[in-house]
Amino acid sequence: MMQAVIQATMDFLKLYWAPLLCGLVIVAVLPLIVGYIVLVERKLMADMQARLGPMRVGPHGLLQPIADAVKLLIKEDIIPDNADKLVFWLAPVLSVGAALLSIAGLAIGPAFQIAKDINIGILFVVGVSAMGIFGIVLGGWASNSHYSLMGSLRSSAQLVSYETAAGMALVSGLLLTGTLNIKAIVEAQYNEGIWFVMLAPVAFFIYLVASIAETNRAPFDLPEAESELVAGYMTEFSGFRWSLYFLAEYTNMIVVSSVATTLFLGGWLRPFARVHFFNFLDYVPPLLMIGVAGYCLLRTPKQPSRVQQLFMLAVAGLCLALALVLLAPVALPIAKPLYAGIHGGFWFIFKVSAYIYFFMWLRFTIPRYRFDQLMRLGWQFLIPLSIVNVLVVGVALIVGSYFNLHGWSMLLVTTPAAIIALVVALMILAAGQQSSAGKENAPASDFYAG
């Protein structure tokens, strides 16, 4: 009797409380992570622009995100007089809610996943994160301002167009696995011994471009183009509401990077996970951490004040502790079972960071597209390319299974397929340009029609 009660309670807790707790952790921790992503972005931007970036709050500006968060929280909350108050209130919540919800479907390593057994994992993530568009459109509309309205119109057209291309790119990636379950996708890459970015490079490229456009990042940041629309759909938002939009944008970046990592970059797998010759790569994560710690120790005497020196020492200690944690599963036989969880988490976060780094790098390097150019790129190049790619990847898979190809030998059929897809898409693009060259002076088509 007693046992049954305990069993029932445990089941209840497992079913309802564990996910709730994970959800709370996400809501509590993610803003902090996003804050530090912003700090990293500002530091990277400063590095590329020959300046220092934030340096005042904390050593090397390390406390800047917290200061910013406090500032945003205590700012006056302004709702414009003629705004639709309910929608104005709802829109940022919708955006950030969708973004945070989609995190639930992701898996950071085999051990950390909130929604464990969703068999439609990728579909759930993509679908829920696409809901965030409503927040942008409604927010721009509810502000009752021209700039906001134009920003939200741009974003609805842009996101719908690029969602199509991204979806088709995902389809050609999913053809390789035959499943939508996130764990199964990564396991498929483990079994094949090759990441899908090699087998479907064109799909990865399309997803890369489309994901930048979906997250409103430069060079596709037209909905919030500062120099044109002031701040686009966010123009009338201030303080906490504005920071919710901000949170949603950066969370979306994490989401799209995670999807790309899972599907194309081998998820939490180490490079060459099945090749024993490359086992020494397991020592790379702890060595990297030791390297960072060593750098911090080296810089400690150069810090101007005692507090900053202590801070540097603390960072170094943290890195050393992380190095020990990463080293344990490799060196100690007892900790072997933890290997997949710890190293999987490291590699996943590493790949996601690399993907986000690429986003930032692009932002500081190239100018912004104009709206018609953006639409032309989407509809005349990316969407035809993605459709052709799905077809040729399918054909390549059939040919590959006919010759019983697996792993690296699949490249024999997928590489020609990628080349064919690119050539066909470029021909479509050229044909489209030729036909539109004749009517250069005709009134332009309605871009918002999408």
């Binding site: 430069a218 120099s227 044109e228 500081f364 390097t365 190239i366 100018p367 150019q373 332009a444």
Partner: protein
């Protein structure tokens, strides 16, 4: 007045261009507080979706009555005021004013003063173009060039600071010559800057010139034909990009420009990309002028004999120089007293801005900021 303007604008737009879908036009107010109207320019845009079907520039938010102030100051007292017009090219403003008054007084600055004036003015042209390049690229969405441009501009401002103590509104020249003797290492500083600068311009070009997005955003945008440019009275790089080879440094040489060899870059189509290329080449040519000038700075006095109280004979004079933004003219009338009777200034930014509507019609909102950037206006000069 405002309502009247509104009606003329709307009736003109509706009769000439119908919106594509028959929908209502959208009137958007860009500025005076807007991130990319370069100060306090206010542009009223009439839009069909994102397409511009009419525009009106509303200026005057920075009007300080510089010309009127000129009538109430002595000739020397007014000289610092002109620095505050085009505040990113103060040295050029000062040169124009000083030379105009010298013409009125019928004196000539000594050769040494003229050469040093040329060096400083050409450095100022580079600094002004650098600021233009940075902000123009920022408007189009390239964040990084701005900081590189600021880095080089800083070197020039340091030279100014060493020469006269001020960085921005320098008041570097004096009527009849120079305020200060050149400091000892001026030639060395200029030479070092010029040496570094060649590779730096190449660096900007690698970021932008061949960039497909940059070309897409600037080519064919804001075309101004040569006829239109002349009809509007447009001058400077905007005129030259339209294919008119007109530069006062060659057409009516002043300072020491007749001694140096340099090319006048011209464009072909008069679009934003051409204006970009022309200004980039102008920076290179300015660098060449500086290099030629520092090679041989004549010795001698730096100030002609002008006396402490300036009382030009009654009469009038118009003197124009090629400022970084175009023809900067001073029309000064003297009635024989210590104060000018009238100072009329022909500011290049103001007159170049008049072509804005012609350039912007039919383009998209994103092109509006590109075109504001490419005209290279400084509102202090537009409004005076």
């Amino acid at each position: 007045m405002e309502a009247e303007r509104e009606t003329t604008l709307s009736s003109e737009a509706t009769t000439e261009n119908k919106t594509l879908l028959g929908a209502d036009e959208l009137i958007i107010n860009m500025g005076p507080q807007h991130p990319s109207t370069h100060g306090v320019l206010r542009v009223k845009l009439k839009l069909d979706g994102e397409r511009v079907i009419g525009s009106e520039c509303i200026i005057g938010y920075l009007h300080r009555g510089v010309e009127k102030i000129g009538e109430n100051r002595t000739y020397q007292q007014f000289a610092p005021y002109v620095d505050r017009m085009d505040y990113v090219a103060a040295v050029s403003n000062g040169l124009g004013y000083c030379e105009a008054i010298e013409k009125l007084l019928v004196v000539e600055a000594p050769p040494r003063a003229r050469v040093i004036r040329t060096i400083l003015t050409e450095l100022q042209r580079i600094a002004s173009h650098l600021l233009w390049l940075g902000t123009h690229a920022l408007d189009i969405g390239a964040l990084t060039p701005l900081f590189y441009c600021m880095r080089e501009r800083e070197e020039i401002l340091k030279i100014f600071e060493k020469y006269c103590g001020a960085r921005l509104t320098t008041h570097a020249f004096r009527i009849g010559g120079l305020q200060y003797e050149a400091y000892d290492t001026l030639e060395k500083d200029v030479e070092r800057f010029c040496k570094d600068f060649e590779s730096r311009v190449a660096e900007y070009e690698t970021l932008l010139t061949q960039n497909r997005i940059w070309i897409g955003r600037t080519k064919g945008v804001g075309i101004l034909t040569a006829e239109d440019a002349i009809a509007f009275g447009v001058t400077g790089p905007v005129l030259r990009a339209s294919g008119v080879k007109w530069d006062l440094r060659k057409a009516a040489p002043y300072a020491a420009y007749d001694q140096y060899k340099f090319e006048i870059p011209v464009g072909t189509t008069g679009d934003t990309y051409d204006r970009y290329l022309v200004r980039m080449e102008e920076m290179r040519q300015s660098r060449l002028i500086c290099l030629q000038a520092i090679e041989n700075i004549p010795a001698g006095p730096i100030l002609a004999k002008v006396g402490k109280v300036l009382k030009p004979p009654p009469g009038e004079v118009y003197h124009a120089i090629e400022a970084p933004k175009g023809e900067l003219g001073y029309y000064v009338v003297s009635d024989g007293t210590v104060q000018p009777y009238r100072v009329r200034i022909r500011p290049p930014s103001f007159i170049n801005l008049q072509a804005f509507d012609r350039m912007v019609r039919g383009h998209l909102v994103a092109d509006v900021v590109a075109i504001i950037g490419t005209i290279d206006i400084v509102l202090g000069e537009v409004d005076r």
